[in-house]
Symmetry: C2
Subunit: 550 residues, 2 copies
């Protein structure tokens, strides 16, 4: 039990309350209480749906409950609204999970999976509106939601998370690092590292925990200590990035709004990862001779035992660089980052770095999980509704593309909402008569960043930024690059102006000017030039003692 | 001698005159005649330089001849002009070759290296104008040029080359394939394959030819037959692309004109290559244990024995895919394509696939050739004159980026000069009521093309094209992709309209919208969306029997 508690304890170390030496029993009792308080407010939407529409027919919950099959269609209710989502089922970003709500009211599900509480999900649902509930049934449904099982009882407390993160959803927990925090250190501290959970955080009894390694014919298992003791350990520095990072900037008037968590620039972090090589483990059991893919299955499973899963090509799995990691930044993994073991696939979209890994399977097939088969794919731009997709035609994302973003100056407000950032240069900038701009850049597949350039005239002229990067092997540049440029204050317009950045990797891959050529309905892999709009405070440079407001 | 003649003979096989069974002696006598006729016209420029400028001082050739050192400066003459090119020497795209003309008239050199006879070279030279020659000296210089050694005496005859190629320079020979020919077959026939020579084609006596393999300490050699007999042969299908392909489209009004051969879309071809693995050869001599780079040195050397050279990282050299090739499309290499042996580095810019390879050196250092150290690099966009560059800071190009181009419909006129292409749909298109658009796409490093999309509304909406591609291994997709889309004729505007294409590889790399973010003074790696402007013939669809004009 010690290891688990150590891990949880470490993760909680920002809390004064928890660092004063409580006994294991007390901590466990507190942490695993079913009714621990949720600190953060729920996500909010600006759209109101489910209100009564007098022009539509009325269907009772009894009628709704009859529609739970492909033949009868899938109906559900939300507030006063009745919906027929039959034609949406195949395209639900969360897969067939949606079927569990068929014939029922959505309130209970959305109370748990708060990820749905965003504008575009509301908009999609209302498209499928077919009628109203009779008076009184809405209230009955609202009461029922209180009784739902809290799948998220083992999610850790995340104290003061709003200071470091923009929280995109509480359940599952999705939180991105605020931009100015991202560039404040080359290694992103664990407590600042973005979290992208697909379901709840699973409970792990480390004494019972086993990692299973197998193929279609046979399987072996390793305990946590076996894995650490029997294989050589390695540490690599690698960024991990969600394939939806910068999704919100893919929306545009010409092509429309994409679907998914509206990440700004912070669904990325740069950490050190310590663990054993996946290759060594596969070789030790003779599983390196056959198979085309290596699948990873997590412990984060829903009530029907559908678990998070993903796979990578065998060539990558047998490369030098894929780890089964037990430490992040030299400390035991926290529960939010995959305790006790997670996969780290450097240079590849975060979705393949499976957390809480439970099983590793060498196979001729890719993972058949929803997240491998029907999500995390770049669909053609012509697809405006996921309904239209033959998912099997489109390859699963593996390596990510070349990316960069401006992170400083930045607002502490949600970057998606800041139209013009009004800034007062700080003391150092006033002294240097230069405005400091900072950001990150990274490319996939171990390709190093060659340069990052910024422009304040929409790309006509570019300034070469200074790079902070590690010396890394050829095709092994997995750590990110931080960059800095200082624009002479005299060169800055007094009116609002755009700052844009774009990176190029050493393989001549670069970022597209706009999202136009890469737009896809799921909003993944947006690496168009990042742009922020700045307005220099009018009193500058007279007010030399004022600090920058962010 | 048989092998060489066979090779040369094959290359000439399009000539009726040469296929009727002349004796070896006759052929040799004809081919190696110093004064064989040059079939094609010299390149032309629209700019006139070297005319007398009365406001400038007069310097005699005697005075010019004193300026041949760093201390005294480097002067030269052209027509009536005198030039001080001291500050240009370091930035000459052809390296220190320029020093040979110091103190002399340029006419003789440029008569041989006709690559200089393009507008932007003329413009650069005239920037360095300092004076005039005295009357009469221009004529004396013109006469002297007739006596220059013809370095190009072993270049093959290239009969009717204008039918298949846009010839960018005769000496060295640089010719790109016409676009509609490029997409007429998945494998580009040898006689249609673009040629990018850096100097003359070297003479090879195959009985004396040896390939040297070594490092700083020791070296071994292999004859042509040794190489073919002692190692297993492999055949791969791979595109080879010049890093300057599509250079001309990088020019834009905001950022200026780039320097180098103004390739349109045809400095690329897709061939099969048969040879032995570089890795096998290195391993057989024990040269696979040390070193960071593998250098290749060609037989194409100038009179001071400066030879073409390049290098690749050891990791790539020891990969599965780099060949020492002796066949192209299942036939012995032609002299223009590197007879007797050339390197083929798939997925990497053509400059590293050294032709006429003579020496292979494993080293801790990159090749110190001009083409590795000071050319074929993506310089920062802020560099407007190569003078400003610290070349050592910029990495040598290796893998190329994701690329695509529209090749059909196309004009047989130089694509750089066609502003609006007027077309009459062909019979098949009229029958289908669709306009056929075709092109190619390719990405570097063995990354497969995932999709190619075209747009006729500047990227707002995109159509998914049909792809013709090989099934290839993960990270081993070196062959190009051909693509086709048929636009319903009813969807086409009657006014001129732009068609644009862009590709994405399976690693989510895509092409930038414009050259703005990738502009570099040497004009390499332009992979911005390719655009052509079409005008449908007004008489269509009445004149159903007319053929498309191209």
């Amino acid at each position: 039990m010690r290891s688990r508690l150590t891990s949880i304890f470490r993760q909680k170390s920002t809390s004064q309350f928890l660092t004063v030496g409580l006994t294991g029993g007390l901590i466990a009792g507190y942490l695993f209480s079913k009714h621990k308080p949720i600190v953060h407010a729920e996500s909010k939407t600006s759209i109101i749906i489910g209100e009564r529409k007098p022009a539509l027919p009325t269907f009772s919950m009894t009628e709704v409950a009859k529609h739970t099959t492909k033949e009868n269609g899938y109906w559900l209710a939300y507030k006063d609204g009745v919906y027929d989502v039959s034609s949406f089922v195949e395209n639900h970003p969360g897969g067939k999970q949606i079927l569990k709500t068929a014939g029922k009211a959505l309130e209970a599900c959305w109370k748990v999976f708060t990820i749905h509480q965003i504008d575009h999900v509301y908009e999609i649902l209302e498209e499928y509106r077919i009628g109203n509930l009779p008076p009184g049934e809405r209230e009955a449904n609202a009461k029922a939601q209180e009784e739902v099982l809290d799948l998220f009882q083992y999610d850790p407390e995340r104290i003061n998370a709003n200071e470091n993160f923009f929280i995109r959803s509480e359940r599952p927990y999705n939180a991105e690092t605020k931009p100015s925090i991202l560039v404040s250190s080359f290694i992103t501290p664990v407590e600042n590292f973005y979290v992208r959970n697909h379901m709840h955080v699973p409970f792990v009894n480390i004494n019972e925990y086993k990692l299973e390694i197998g193929n279609e014919k046979s399987a072996y298992s390793l305990s946590y200590d076996d894995l650490k003791d029997k294989y050589q350990s390695y540490t690599i520095t690698s960024a991990i990035q969600c394939s939806g990072n910068r999704r919100s900037a893919m929306n545009n008037e010409e092509q429309g709004t994409v679907q998914g968590t509206p990440w700004y620039v912070g669904a990325i972090g740069n950490g050190t990862w310590t663990g054993v090589k996946l290759r060594d483990v596969l070789e030790s059991f003779g599983f390196d001779k056959e198979g085309k893919h290596v699948q990873f299955i997590g412990l984060d499973c829903d009530t029907s035992q559908r678990c998070y899963g993903a796979s990578i090509p065998i060539e990558k799995a047998l490369s030098d660089d894929v780890l089964i990691a037990y430490k992040m930044n030299d400390e035991v993994l926290t529960t939010d980052h995959g305790y006790p073991l997670r996969i780290v696939v450097p240079g590849t979209v975060g979705a393949r770095s499976v957390k809480w890994v439970n099983r590793i399977v060498v196979s001729d097939k890719e993972s058949d999980s929803h997240w491998q088969k029907a999500d995390y794919k770049v669909l053609p731009s012509s697809i405006k509704q996921p309904q239209q997709v033959d998912y099997d035609r489109e390859p699963a994302l593996q390596e990510f593309n070349v990316q960069s973003a401006i992170c400083y100056p930045a607002s502490s407000e949600d970057g998606n909402k800041v139209k013009i950032l009004s800034i007062k240069p700080n003391d150092e900038d006033i002294k240097n008569q230069k405005l400091t701009i900072k950001g990150y850049a990274v490319s996939g597949g171990g390709r190093q960043i060659q340069n990052v350039q910024i422009s304040i005239d929409h790309g006509k002229t570019w300034f070469q930024t200074e790079l902070e990067q590690l010396a890394q092997p050829y095709m092994g540049a997995y750590a990110w690059t931080l960059w800095t440029y200082r624009i002479p204050l005299n060169d800055l317009p007094s009116k609002p102006f755009d700052v844009m950045c774009r990176a190029m990797d050493t393989h001549a891959n670069s970022q597209p000017d706009t999202p136009l050529g890469i737009w896809n309905i799921r909003g993944v892999m947006n690496n168009s030039w990042h742009k922020i709009t700045l307005q220099i405070d009018q009193n500058f440079p007279k007010s030399k003692n004022q600090n920058r407001t962010d």
